[in-house]
Amino acid sequence: MKLVRMRPGHGDQLLAEGDPDLDADEARLVEAFRRQLELGMWAAVPTREDERREAMLVRDFDEVPREAERVIFIPPAAGG
């Protein structure tokens, strides 16, 4: 699983990567996940239902499906 963040002037940036089934990796992933939520980022998880591309927003690392390939942190939306 990869945790990436969209960054102005940069594109996506890899924050952490690991296997959530391994304790050490999971601890790093959880720490990076919490840090981004503390910064106010939204955590989006691309998913697939059959062949359909979908996505979900999560507020806790426990909500991330174990099989998810990546979590993408995006700045919160604001009316433009």
Binding site: P8, H10, G11, D12, I74, G80
Partner: protein, 199 residues
């Protein structure tokens, strides 16, 4: 003419001249082009390729999340799209997702434009890096938010009638281009953009 009269006359002339010409001189001074400000010493020169590399990385993320066909469509059309809830097995409406422009909702059956939804994703956590995401990231962020929480995003957005920011004729042409694109590769579109098929 006495000396006093001559002095008085001179003072009056100077005063009249000042009254007539000083405003013009001030105006010209204001209009004079100013030299460009020099960059502060020690500050790095902006990297001219930074934005392009950022855009390439953002497009790569579209490919990884939505697939190669979605990236091809984005490059060709300049926007992403997705569809709303289905009615009688077919989507009733869809969204054109432009980078750094409003999302436009449209009636899938008729192509009629419904609304402009103005929303952005400013990153205020690191002000020195700017707030504006690369174009492809902005479009993908909108797509993710729409798929994950359509009502939340639409409620957050400022909603306007079509034509407020985008030329309606241009948007209609984009819908026609999208329809052409998806009908050319219906099999690819199914499951690769959002599985909702063509327009």
């Amino acid at each position: 003419m006495s000396a006093a009269a001559a002095v008085s006359l001179a003072i009056v002339c100077v005063a009249l001249a000042a009254f007539a010409y000083v405003p013009e001189l001030l105006r010209r001074r204001r209009m004079r082009p100013r030299p460009a400000p020099k960059p502060p010493r020690g500050k790095a020169i902006p990297d001219p390729g930074e934005q392009l590399r950022a855009e390439r990385r953002a497009e790569q993320l579209i490919e990884e999340v939505l697939g190669v066909d979605a990236l091809e469509a984005y490059r060709a059309l300049g926007f992403l799209h997705c569809f709303g809830a289905a009615r009688d097995g077919a989507p009733a409406y869809g969204y054109l997702i432009y980078p750094h422009k409003p999302i436009v909702s449209f009636d899938v059956a008729t192509g009629e434009l419904l609304n402009e939804h103005c929303v952005s994703f400013p990153d205020r956590s690191e002000p020195e890096g700017g707030q504006r995401l690369p174009d492809a990231d902005d479009a993908l962020a909108k797509w993710l938010a729409l798929r994950a929480d359509e009502h939340g995003l639409i409620n957050e957005a400022n909603m306007h009638l079509p034509g407020r920011q985008l030329d309606p004729d241009h948007v209609r042409r984009d819908i026609a281009r999208l329809s052409e694109w998806t009908s050319r590769s219906t099999a690819d579109a199914e499951g690769n953009l959002d599985g909702a098929g063509g327009v």
